[in-house]
Structure formats: structure tokens, C-alpha cells
């Protein structure tokens, strides 16, 4: 379907927040799902780009996407502005499993990984459920949504690789340092970020026996489960492995399911 662009803002250098008017998507969307976006009418790039749903405003019928310009597709998308149309499919994929009301929730985001997690936090805010957020970025100017999350009552812990804001180091390092090992300070973890970060985080929380879910990324073709391009290696039956589709069984997977390499 085609949707009109309500707003497009560059929220940090190379990071864009795109808001579209898509009431049907706004109603159906669940945190963790994505939209498969046609970035232009070009043959190069040819394919759509899967982009996480970042925020939803059901009253206004608006859906916001937060993305980083990483290649030709996202660069084209970033050129669009208010009043332009954009073609999208979705909401697609399986989102996050929402926590029980009394659970202590940790959200761990690396860089643009905050995009789908913000939508989850929005849902938690609506349920008066506050979470501890661990937000990491390469540098302070790339820390996204921190103020907004704090205003919604979430506690935000910050880490930057260059030490320009918060804890100097990785977000997983900060998470490990902050949580009390062996205690029940965390009941459930939700995470999204670079593969290496997710791998390390999963090691930590598996060791602590904390359940959780991660949102993963993979190069995607159709987005509807047909082409089997966006394969994520997962633990299969017995000791085997099974490739699951990020677009259908994902992009959110239980922590123990993904095989990190």
C-alpha cells in the first residue's frame, strides 16, 4: 500500500525518523514488527528494505520508523519528505512477547537497535510498566530517544564507545556491571543491536538464567516468507540446527534459540 509521509526528520547525523499516515498499520502493529519499504522506483536498489516499527499513534493513524542510512536504499528513503508517498508492506513478522505485569524488565539497545525497542517501551508505558533501559552508541550524539524514554518513566543507563556520555565502553559491559549476578534483579530482557553485542548479551543472560528475546537483522528478499533469503541459524530438533525466516518466525527470537557465530 501507499502511505503519505507526514514528517521526516534527521534526528542525529545519518539517523532519520520517518512518520507515515497508515491507520490500518497503526491499528495492527505490534512492538517488534517491521514494515517492508520500497525506497524508490529504481532497479538499483531493486529490493524493499525491512525497517522496524519505532512508534505508533493509533489516534492519529500514524506510524514512525527510525532508521540509519547505511546504503543506497536508506539513502533514497532519507530524501523523501512531507507529502511524498511511500510504498510499504506490513506490519510483518513476529513481535516481542509482552512481559507479565509484575516482571522486572530490562531493555538493551545498541545504536539503531533502539528502533523496535522504543515501540515496546511505548507499549509498556501505556501499561504503567517501567523498564530499565541500557542504551549504547558509538558516541553521545548518536544516543537516540533517551530523553523521551526518561519522560515516560523508564530508567535509562547510558554507555558510549568513546566515553563522550555515560559509561565508557559497551552497553553489554554496562549491563553486566549493573545487574547483580545471581540475584533476581531482572526477570526478562529484550534486546536489539549489532550481532556481536547480541551474542555477548545472550551469553550473559543465559549464564544468569534470565529469559529474554532479541530482534535480529538479516538481508531480506520478499518479506512474506516465500524466498527463504533472510535465514537465521537457530537450534533445531536434537542437536541440529534449523534456519528460520527472520521475516516470519522473527525478527524477534527467544534468546536461547539463536545460534551466534
Amino acid at each position: 500500500m501507499d502511505a503519505g509521509i507526514v514528517k521526516q526528520q534527521e534526528v542525529a547525523e545519518g539517523y532519520f525518523r520517518l512518520t507515515v499516515f497508515a491507520p490500518a498499520v497503526a491499528v495492527a502493529a505490534k512492538p517488534g514488527q517491521f514494515l517492508h519499504m520500497r525506497c524508490g522506483d529504481t532497479l538499483d536498489p531493486l529490493l524493499r528494505r525491512p525497517i522496524s516499527i519505532h512508534a505508533v499513534n493509533r489516534d492519529k493513524g500514524e506510524v514512525a520508523l527510525l532508521y540509519k542510512v547505511v546504503g543506497k536504499g536508506t539513502a533514497l528513503l532519507a530524501q523523501k519528505g512531507k507529502g511524498d508517498q511511500v510504498n510499504l508492506l506490513g506490519p510483518l513478522g513476529k513481535g516481542f512477547t509482552l512481559p507479565e505485569r509484575n516482571e522486572k524488565v530490562c531493555v538493551v539497545a545498541g545504536g539503531i537497535g533502539i528502533a523496535p525497542l522504543f515501540c515496546l517501551l511505548q507499549e509498556l508505558t501505556a501499561r504503567n510498566h517501567s523498564a530499565a533501559v541500557f542504551l549504547g552508541a558509538a558516541t553521545g550524539s548518536q544516543l537516540l530517544c533517551a530523553g523521551e524514554m526518561e519522560r515516560c518513566g523508564h530508567i535509562v543507563h547510558i554507555a558510549t564507545d568513546d566515553g563522550s556520555a555515560g559509561f565508557p565502553g559497551t552497553v553489554t559491559g554496562l549491563f553486566e556491571k549493573t545487574i547483580t549476578p545471581g540475584s533476581s534483579s531482572v526477570d526478562r530482557v529484550y534486546a536489539c543491536g549489532p550481532r556481536r553485542m547480541l551474542k555477548r548479551l545472550c551469553e550473559i543472560i543465559r549464564l544468569e538464567g534470565i529469559p529474554g528475546e532479541v530482534s535480529v537483522e538479516e538481508r531480506m528478499g520478499c518479506g512474506v516468507g516465500a524466498c527463504l533469503s533472510c535465514a537465521c541459524k537457530t537450534r533445531g530438533e536434537g542437536n541440529g540446527v534449523a534456519y528460520k525466516r527472520v521475516c516470519m518466525e522473527g525478527p524477534v527470537f527467544p534468546v536461547g534459540e539463536v545460534v551466534w557465530e
Binding site: 520500497r38 532497479l43 538499483d44 536498489p45 531493486l46 529490493l47 524493499r48 508492506l89 538479516e218 538481508r219 531480506m220 528478499g221 520478499c222 518479506g223 512474506v224 516468507g225 516465500a226 524466498c227 527463504l228 533469503s229 533472510c230 535465514a231 537465521c232 541459524k233 533445531g236 541440529g240 540446527v241 534449523a242 534456519y243
Partner: protein
């Protein structure tokens, strides 16, 4: 009452017969790009398709290749899925019944490591309810054994064709590889061996290298190139084979719109298959179908057969 003087616009006849498979229109799906059907059911009415060609099926389940399995290239897609599929028995049990609810021919693409595999697959599908035809994949570039090896040797291609034909009464379509010295030589041998129709072309063997990491992008190093970038190669292959081999051809390779499909038809394809375009536009098959019909009405073509190979008269 007389209609004299009133120009009646009859809807043109789009139905085609591909080696015994009756298709209500010439637009099929290319194997591997359309799953097993339900994936696209939210977007199009599957009953309107000329035929569905389902994902490549093997004797045993296949896990497929490691990621990344896909990379975009200019006007193209390189893939190395590696025939991930549940195996023929689970396909028949779990996936095939869904399509029985639709009024469309189901063509099952099969791939094997050995000639015997192809024969067994054909036998199993021959007995399965709801299979209209078998597409023999002797051209997959993404598997270690079998696949393209069979398709690049005319003698082997013929042997596989005979083995399949010997085990099924159903129409047998052989899908040819473009990664050969002479696609006509392979097509001729396959025709002699009893094939009922040809699908052409499968993907072109290709690769891409990431200059940042200095390693091949695809997990499986090489992959098959599809999309608009391969279309001229595919049109040429259909053109050459149409002249030499008397079998219906399903033409495919980068068809994004009706005009692209018509190129294949004019070159000699009796039907077409839409592949990569489904990823860009899930309604691509319907857009192609409607565009062909519109072209026929505008050009007063009564029957699609009038267009098949129509450009051949300009051959040098």
C-alpha cells in the same frame, strides 16, 4: 437483435497449453520466489494465476546454505538459498493440500543429487493428489551435488529427463541452465529424451565481494543472479531454443512488468514466469497478467498464440 455496426470487444483468449498442462493464462510463478502459495494469498487471488510453480523439493529435507543468502547487485539479486525445503514427503503431506483449495495447476519443482533421486521424486509426485506437472531442476547453481551439473551436460540432462519421464504420467517440464556453452544443445537432448516443455532460464552463476571485509558476500561464496539484469540473456536463450526445438517454453528471467513478459512471448515463450518481481511487488503477477491482456486488446490480438514467437520473422 442484430449487433451489426456495433464493435464488440471480446476479451482475448489468454489460455495456453504447456505440454498438457492447461493454464487459463500464461502467467506462472518462478520456483523459489513464491514459496508454496499461502505466502502471497494475502496479496493476490491465487486462482487468477496461470500456474504456481512451488519451491524446489528434494527427497530428504534440506537445511539450506548459511547466511547471508542474498545480496543485491545492479538491477539484480544474487541468491544462494541452497534448496532449503521440508523434503518431498512433508511437502505432499503438509504443503500440497493447501493448494487443492484453489483452481490452478500446481507444478512441483524437483531437484536431486543423483538420477535415481529424480526418478523417486517423480514417482512420489505422480501418486500425489493435486500435482499438475513436474518441473525438473537441473540448473540450481547453489548446491554441491547434482543441480547445475546435470544441466550443463546434454547427455546427463537427457538421462535425468528419461528417468523422470519413466516414473510419471504427468507433464514434465525441464528447467534449463544458462550456464552452458550451448543451451540449444541441452534443449535438443532433453526434447529427444521426452520432455513435454522447457522452463528457461534458471539463474546465472555469479558472485559479489565486499571490499570492506575483503571476502565474498554470500555465505556460500557463489550464487545465482536473477532480476532485470539477466533478462536480455534469458530472452536470447528463449529465442535460440524456440527456433530449434519444438516444445512449449515457459520464459523467465527478470520479468518486472507486462512489457518484459511480452518480450519473452515474442521471442517464443508460450508462457512466462514471474520471479524476483514478487519480492518488489507482491502483486507483480497480477500486474503482468492485466498488462498482457490490455496490450492484446489495444493491439486487437484475439489469442495469445498469435504473439508466440512473432518476432522470429525478423531473424537474420
Amino acid at each position: 437483435m442484430s449487433n451489426a455496426g456495433v464493435k464488440v470487444k471480446n476479451r482475448p483468449n489468454l489460455s495456453v497449453n504447456i505440454g498438457g498442462i492447461h493454464m487459463k493464462n500464461p502467467v506462472a510463478t518462478a520456483s523459489g520466489t513464491f514459496g508454496y502459495g499461502p505466502e502471497y494469498a494475502p496479496y493476490i487471488d491465487l486462482n487468477r494465476l496461470g500456474a504456481i510453480v512451488v519451491k524446489g523439493t528434494t527427497l530428504e529435507p534440506r537445511a539450506g546454505n548459511p547466511a547471508p543468502r542474498l545480496v543485491e547487485t545492479p538491477a539484480g539479486i544474487l541468491n544462494s538459498i541452497g534448496l532449503q525445503n521440508p523434503g518431498v514427503d512433508r511437502f505432499i503431506e503438509e504443503y500440497l493440500p493447501y493448494l487443492a483449495g484453489y483452481d490452478l495447476p500446481v507444478i512441483v519443482n524437483i531437484a536431486g543429487d543423483t538420477v535415481e533421486h529424480y526418478a523417486i521424486l517423480a514417482g512420489k509426485l505422480d501418486r500425489a493428489h493435486g500435482v499438475s506437472g513436474i518441473e525438473v531442476n537441473i540448473s540450481c547453481p547453489n548446491v554441491k551435488k547434482g543441480g547445475m551439473q546435470f544441466g550443463s551436460d546434454p547427455v546427463m540432462a537427457a538421462e535425468v529427463t528419461r528417468a523422470v519421464k519413466g516414473n510419471t504420467e504427468k507433464p514434465v517440464i525441464v528447467k534449463l541452465s544458462p550456464n552452458v556453452t550451448s543451451i540449444v544443445a541441452v534443449a535438443k537432448k532433453v526434447a529427444e529424451a521426452g520432455a513435454d516443455a522447457l522452463s528457461m532460464i534458471n539463474t546465472l552463476l555469479g558472485m559479489a565481494i565486499d571490499i570492506k571485509t575483503r571476502r565474498p558476500v554470500l555465505g556460500n561464496v557463489m550464487g545465482g543472479l536473477a532480476g532485470p539484469s539477466v533478462r536480455p540473456v534469458a530472452v536470447r536463450a528463449v529465442w535460440q531454443v524456440y527456433r530449434e526445438v519444438d516444445l512449449p517454453i515457459i520464459g523467465m528471467g527478470g520479468i518486472m512488468a507486462a512489457g518484459d513478459a511480452l518480450e519473452f512471448v515474442l521471442a517464443g515463450a508460450a508462457a512466462v514466469a514471474v520471479g524476483s518481481a514478487n519480492f518488489v511487488n507482491p502483486c507483480a503477477t497480477m500486474d503482468v497478467l492485466e498488462g498482457i491482456e490490455k496490450y492484446m486488446i489495444e493491439n486487437e490480438i484475439q489469442d495469445i498464440s498469435e504473439l508466440v514467437g512473432a518476432a522470429q520473422r525478423f531473424s537474420l
